[in-house]
Amino acid sequence: MEEKAKVQFRQSIVVRFSGDSGDGMQLAGNIFSNVSAGLGDRISTFPDYPAEVRAPQGSLGGVSGFQVHIGHGVHTPGDECDVLVAMNPAALKQNAQFLRKNGAAIVDIDTFTQSGLDKALYTTTEPYEELGMTAQVIEAPITTMVKEALKDTGMDLKAQMKCRNMFALGLVCWLFNRPMEAPLKFLKAKFADKPEVYAANELVIKGGYNYGHNIHATVSTYRIQSDDVRPGTYTDVTGNKATAWGLIKASEMSGRPLVLGSYPITPATDILHELAKRRDLGVKAIQMEDEIGGICSAIGAAFAGHLAVTTTSGPGLALKSEALGLAVMAELPLVLVDVQRGGPSTGLPTKTEQTDLQQALYGRSGESPLVVLAAASPTDCFKMAFQAARIAIEHMTPVILLTDAFIANGSSAWRIPEEGEYPVIKPNFVPEAVKATWTPFMRNALGIRYWAIPGTPGLEHVVGGLEKDYNTGILSNDPINHAHMVETRRMKIANIANVIPELNLKGDPTADTIILGWGSTYGHILDAVTRLNADGFKIAMTHLRYINPLPKNTAELLSRFKTVIVAELNTGQMASYLQSKIPNLNICHINKVQGQPFMVQEIVDGVKNIMMEEEL
């Protein structure tokens, strides 16, 4: 590699693979991130699927992307990419906006025919100029070279073309000093049953690598430094997989078998997929006939004494509202994972938003409090899914865990927890001492109902959606009793503030201004605050993962600051929630509702604007 002309030393780099949805961009991106992770890089990825399953080939609607950020200090998939791989004119048109000004684009120049340009609705024959690109463009004849590499294999043209993604991957590996062994090992395992497919991919990926080698004189390349990370065993997880695993961990630590009742919905379905696989650990994942069936079967499993979970996205949460109310009323443990997407209605199914917050907090009939949590990153999904289950089981309440498309599909390197890192979860079973006098809504000192497990002699009982007497658990329409039960259910949730971590401060603690985010925006806000502090802007940061109840010190901590900037991917749902809870705050907003994550620069600019205005 010594012969490489220019080597840029960068802490981290962002590569975006883009092409037709059939071009295998997700696979190429995945292999590249796995290979990088294996070399000790921190990684963060962001798949960007087209909304249509199979849009016409070469059309703008059919473009699929996969962005991977590798290196040191990586918290997000990155705002802009350093290298953009575009397998056709449509992919270039859709993704050129994400390419850094002095970055590099790799295009398959064979696809830039008049017909290719027409399909992508270019109006001129000069695509780079039309897109206003200033970046370097590597015009690689990928299609031609793939055909050439595979000409002796006897493969038909269609099969040959499926290998184009590996040519691009080989080229990217060359650019970033990735040795060929790791991707080849990955491909060998993937195509273990199809040695001829492996052989073809090997020829092509090496062809791409060698092509990069041969044109090195004209390419700027980067070297990526590894991050310092805690010792341990690591693997790569997506947020959805981490969520599934966190729930399994909670099942192990509580001794309550895991039942998932679910219905497929983008972008939550991968949790169902993972838990369906885990029948090998005793998990019973059942795909029901609809969203309501999903949550109701879970509630049935909760009544049976199991760790019960249902997974969905925004429209599904709406359908589950009535059943959530039943879980509130029957005081049964239940975890509902809402992987948020763009809304309302069908909205932007594959895109990310934080627009379900108020639905999660308030979207039920009656006075219906429950716990709302939010995960901050793909790996945090594990921890927060575990916490959601722990709170549900120990406090006999439904818990909504909010994640979103961004962290659900994105991945990060995850240190696999060692034994003892996660606490034992203690279900609130009916204690022996009270069995003789037990009634179904008898509570412990914290106001938490006991959990009587069906099959236990002597604890037969009725629960249901009707209001019941505080003392006897028998149906009651008594007005004073109802008010007392409403308050009891409210206090049960409020008391959970005593068992969740307090909010902590990052950034400049002497600042007058603090920026607050929640859920998946953590990485972007942290990067923005780091940049702002480095530029001399005095700003602190705090991040909410426990939303209802709020951490105990929330009001005290936020009240220390003259200005609280709430940054969120909606029009101000958290801001108005906080304002209602802590009226004296001076809240300013940074909002984005485009179906896309924040860009760090947007937050930096937003903070600067607010700070200037506030000073006036």
Binding site: N34, G38, V229, R230, P231, G232, T233, Y234, T235, D236, W245, K249, E252, P257, V259, G261, R278, R279, D280, L281, G282, K284, I286, M288, E289, D290, I292, G293, C296, S297, A298, I299, G300, A301, F303, A304, G305, H306, A308, E322, A323, L326, A330, R415, I416, E419, P454, G455, T456, P457, G458, E460, H461, V462, V463, G464, G465, L466, I474, L475
Partner: protein
């Protein structure tokens, strides 16, 4: 199903709590509750191994009066809750109580899918062809033209026949009784409990207040023997006050004849086979409506098929044996990992 080794140790009242019963006087639901308690006692499955799950409606109040693990859920969703409950714990015997509105209108989707899935639930469908709890609107089983508070000029839609839905969903068990036919009700409830899979039991039930006499065409003492038939597996299909009428095959259909008339003899009368895999004759029997052919009571269809919760449990054991994982860590470590020193 787990049976108590010491037979008849549980009396009907062992399955009943002391809550005041709030159904109207004369409501058919009283009889259903009493028969169910008797059936539970006769089955002798302990109360702690018994669950009663319902949706919303008059009949769905039934769980409140039992001393079992009972759950009064939300409108139409009893079947979905029961599915999750039974899948989680296949050791429990699960009764689902539903009505024509709960089961066939708001809960219609769950109903057809629980029948299709063949979850081992004993589903009592109390059919009074009216909404009682909301005070008298037509239901999905009300006849076309039926006048009610929400159809003052008569309905403009055709009703469901519950059996037809159950067969359409490939049901493995269908039985029918009448609220006042206590013996047949207990017989079909016990058969439902002994059937492994989703057992649909339709009980024609009278609502004194909003739909009194809706089944009177077949329930009047004088006409009941001629307008209904009690089907028993392995027995001739005979009915009538004088026990001289029978069901015979008539081309591709069925016909009611008088034995000894028109050349029909006892040999022509069909023998009921509830266990026949093919459902064609079962469907014809279930669709008999009391006009040309008598309404069928008793167990009409009872065939074996894999039950859902058993298949899930078996698959869990197979998957465990296949991969040999003991905990999450085994699964995670079996994937791509790397060490950081």
């Amino acid at each position: 199903m787990e049976k108590n080794t010491n037979p008849q140790t549980h009396k009907p009242l062992d399955y009943k709590n002391n809550q005041p019963i709030r159904w109207c006087p004369g409501c058919g639901d009283h009889a259903v509750l009493n028969v169910l308690l008797k059936a539970m006692s006769a089955l002798d499955i302990p109360p702690e191994k018994t669950a009663v799950i319902s949706g919303i409606g008059c009949s769905s109040r039934l769980p409140y009066y039992t001393k079992t693990y009972a759950f009064h859920t939300i409108h139409g969703r009893g079947g979905a809750v029961a599915t999750g409950f039974k899948t989680a714990n296949p050791e429990m015997t699960v009764w689902q109580i539903s009505g024509d509105g709960d089961c066939l209108a708001i809960g219609g989707n769950h109903f057809i899918h629980e029948v299709r899935r063949n979850i081992d639930v004993n589903l009592l469908l109390l059919n009074n062809r009216i909404y009682g709890l909301t005070k008298g609107q037509f239901s999905p089983t009300s006849a076309r033209g039926f006048k009610s508070k929400s159809s003052p000029y008569g309905t403009t839609e055709d009703p469901f026949v519950p059996a037809e839905l159950a067969f359409g969903a490939r049901g493995t068990f269908f039985a029918r009784s009448l609220d006042v036919e206590l013996g047949i009700s207990q017989e079909v409830m016990m058969a439902a409990a002994n059937h492994k899979g989703c057992s649909v039991v339709e009980i024609l039930q009278n609502c004194m207040i909003f739909n009194n006499g809706i089944h009177s065409y077949i329930t009047e003492r004088e006409t009941r023997p001629d307008r209904t038939i009690h089907l028993v597996h392995g027995e001739k299909m005979i009915f009538g006050t004088d026990r001289n009428r029978g069901i015979v095959q008539d081309g591709f259909g069925l016909k009611a004849v008088t034995i000894g008339e028109d050349g029909y003899t006892m040999d022509d009368v069909l023998v009921h086979d509830a266990h026949c895999e093919k459902s064609f004759v079962h469907q014809m029997l279930a669709m008999m409506d009391g006009t040309d052919l008598p309404v069928a009571f008793g167990v009409i269809r009872d065939v074996e098929a894999p039950s859902y919760e058993t298949a899930v449990a078996e698959q869990v054991e197979e998957a465990k044996a296949l991969h040999g994982f003991t905990c999450l860590r085994d699964v995670v470590m079996s994937g791509d990992t790397w060490q950081v020193e």
